[in-house]
């Protein structure tokens, strides 16, 4: 079975400025693929290339098995697109606009349209220019979903939506995928990608930093560790921690009570990789408090936003990601450079 989207060596130049430096990725059918990256990374440009709104300068694109430029209108009938910037300033009502698009890209089941509008809590009989930003976004979602396309290309789909409607959107995505569709979406909001996507590509400055499954990202992500122990000296605790693989940014201090050493030691550190070695090490201590936090994908990805420079043409398959704790080509020096939140001095 062909993959839903295959992109190889995609480059795009606007005048002298190259905004995409050779992207390679593939999206399997029936999955949700998320693209995250800072502003100006090239997410919207990539999506527009998939729809033949922008033509690539080099490289090849295959959407649902066909080249977007030559496939023409029949291909676009099978795709639902939501642009990143949606300005709807017409006097027409939402319903008429949807009918217009249904006439172009149809067929569309009107009951489905009404059902979706109700779930999204959208009044289709108001003029589009009178809708609030969130409501316009709902209308945009409707026109993308209404003809039950095989592929959904959604650029920042939840922008402007309140949390309740965001959950409706996630339900719509799940239903689409259950029906065999593929979803390709971009976002700033990492928790949304965490929730919705099976695989994630991180895009920065026109290049892919990494492609990974969400699970792999989480496994490899860095967690914060905090514990308090008694009856052990601070330097012993420090030495114990230092021997655990994956520990970095260690801060260990003695807690003082009434000016005397109390024998209570408080330590914080960042842990990347597996949890088991740390737990085994800590088991030897007399712990009074232990906190091992769920890795925050947001924090993890932000390091990638600011960390390594992406290599042109770099790609990896989902599941084989080098992981965020050890970005390719960089050793532990990378993670040790991070500022540890909550590290405090006596």
């Amino acid at each position: 079975m062909t993959q839903a989207i295959v992109v190889e060596g995609l480059r795009k130049k606007f005048g002298h400025r190259e905004v995409l430096h050779g992207l390679d990725f593939a999206v399997d059918r029936g999955t949700v693929f998320g693209v995250i990256g800072p502003n100006g990374a090239g997410k919207t440009t990539t999506m527009r290339c998939l729809l033949d709104i922008i033509r690539p300068s080099a490289g090849s694109i295959s959407v649902l098995g066909e080249d977007p430029r030559s496939a023409g209108t029949a291909l676009r009938r099978r795709i639902g697109y939501l642009p990143g910037e949606l300005h709807l300033e017409n006097r027409t009502t939402g319903r008429r606009m949807l009918e217009h698009f249904a006439a172009i890209s149809g067929p569309v089941d009107p009951k489905h349209v009404n059902e979706l509008a109700e779930r999204l809590n959208l009044d289709l009989d108001r003029q589009t220019r009178k809708l609030s930003k969130g409501n316009k976004q709902k209308l945009g979602l409707l026109q993308a979903f209404m003809h039950k396309p095989e592929l959904l290309v959604l650029d920042e789909p939840t922008s402007g939506l309140d949390p309740l409607v965001q959950q409706v959107f996630h339900a719509m995505v799940r239903e689409a995928v259950d029906g065999g569709a593929t979803v390709f979406l971009s976002s700033h909001v990492l928790s949304e990608v965490q929730q919705a996507a099976d695989a994630v590509a991180i895009l920065r400055d026109g290049g892919i930093v990494t492609v990974s499954t969400v699970e792999a990202l989480r496994t490899a992500a860095v967690r914060q560790v905090r514990f308090t122990s008694t009856e052990t000296e601070a330097h012993d605790v420090g030495a114990l921690l230092a021997r655990v693989p994956g520990v970095a940014n260690m801060v260990v201090r003695e807690l003082k009570a009434d000016g005397h050493t109390s024998g209570t030691v408080e330590a914080t550190a960042m842990l990347s990789g597996h949890v088991q070695p740390l737990v085994q090490a800590l088991a030897r201590l007399n712990l009074t408090d232990l906190v091992l936090e769920e890795p925050d994908l947001e924090e993890a990805v932000l390091t990638l936003y600011t960390a390594q420079t992406p290599q042109p043409g770099q790609s990896s398959q989902p599941g084989q990601s080098p992981g965020l704790g050890q970005p390719p080509g960089l050793g532990n020096g990378q993670t040790q450079g991070r500022h540890v939140e909550g590290a405090h001095r006596a």
Binding site: R48, I53, R76, I79, Y81, P83, N90, I104
Partner: protein
């Protein structure tokens, strides 16, 4: 419609003719007021030549600039292009919409003038009137398709409006200046306004060659607009 019923008192009376003669000839030539002594000439000069020209051009340029350029600026073109429609189709269909609107307005003008023909004692021949309206529409369409083409090429509404306005205004200005003296008569060749109205079609019948030329150029601009949109990136 303000102008035509006034004809008997303004154009037809002898005192008016004396007044016109008293004005500087340059001015009368520029405003085409040298014709207003006769009914058809009056209609030609005031309605087709000035106020009608102005209003129709404004409408046509607005439609032309919004059709592609304005739509792209507003982000709606990107959304439409993601649906099952080609770029050429979009340009052609929107151009057709402009043609239809101009045609409807022109028919309205024709009927109104015809209706006022008797009561205002204009004495315009119906065949000549039809020809004049045809040229009137052709002129408006030219500004509109120029706006459409510039908008399709640039993706911006403002360039569309500028191009359409240039065609209309320069056409009018070149006609006004070109009529002043034989030395600057070559300007008349550059003026679409002159091509359409040079021989005062409401009075003397249409110059069919000019009409064909104007419609031909408009059609060419539409095709160029389609090609321009087909070849470039949208929304950037």
């Amino acid at each position: 419609m303000l102008y035509l019923p006034l004809y008997p008192s303004i154009g037809g009376s002898a005192q008016m003719q004396d007044l016109i003669n008293a004005l500087p000839p340059e001015m009368t030539k520029a405003l085409n007021y040298d014709q207003i002594a006769s009914g058809p000439g009056y209609t030609q000069a005031t309605m087709f030549g000035l106020i009608g020209f102005l209003l129709m051009s404004m409408a046509s340029i607005g439609w032309g600039a919004a059709a592609v350029g304005g739509d792209e600026e507003s982000g709606l073109l990107e959304l439409t292009l993601a649906h099952s429609v080609t770029r050429v189709q979009i340009v052609l269909e929107r151009a057709l919409a402009i043609v239809v609107r101009i045609a409807l307005l022109s028919v309205l003008v024709f009927l109104l003038v015809l209706g006022l023909n008797g009561p205002s004692q204009l004495g315009i021949d119906v065949g000549h009137l039809a020809g004049a309206v045809l040229l009137f529409a052709a002129l408006a369409l030219l500004s509109g398709t120029a706006a459409l083409f510039a908008g399709a090429l640039s993706g911006r509404k403002v360039y569309g409006i500028a191009a359409g306005a240039a065609v209309a205004v320069l056409g009018y200005v070149f006609n006004a200046v070109g009529r002043q003296s034989p030395d600057v008569q070559w300007l008349l060749n550059l003026s679409p306004y002159h091509w359409a109205y040079g021989n005062s079609p409401a009075a003397n019948g249409a110059d069919w060659g000019a009409a064909a030329g104007l419609y031909g150029i408009s059609a060419g601009l539409i095709v160029l607009g389609a090609v321009a949109l087909q070849r470039r990136d949208v929304g950037v």
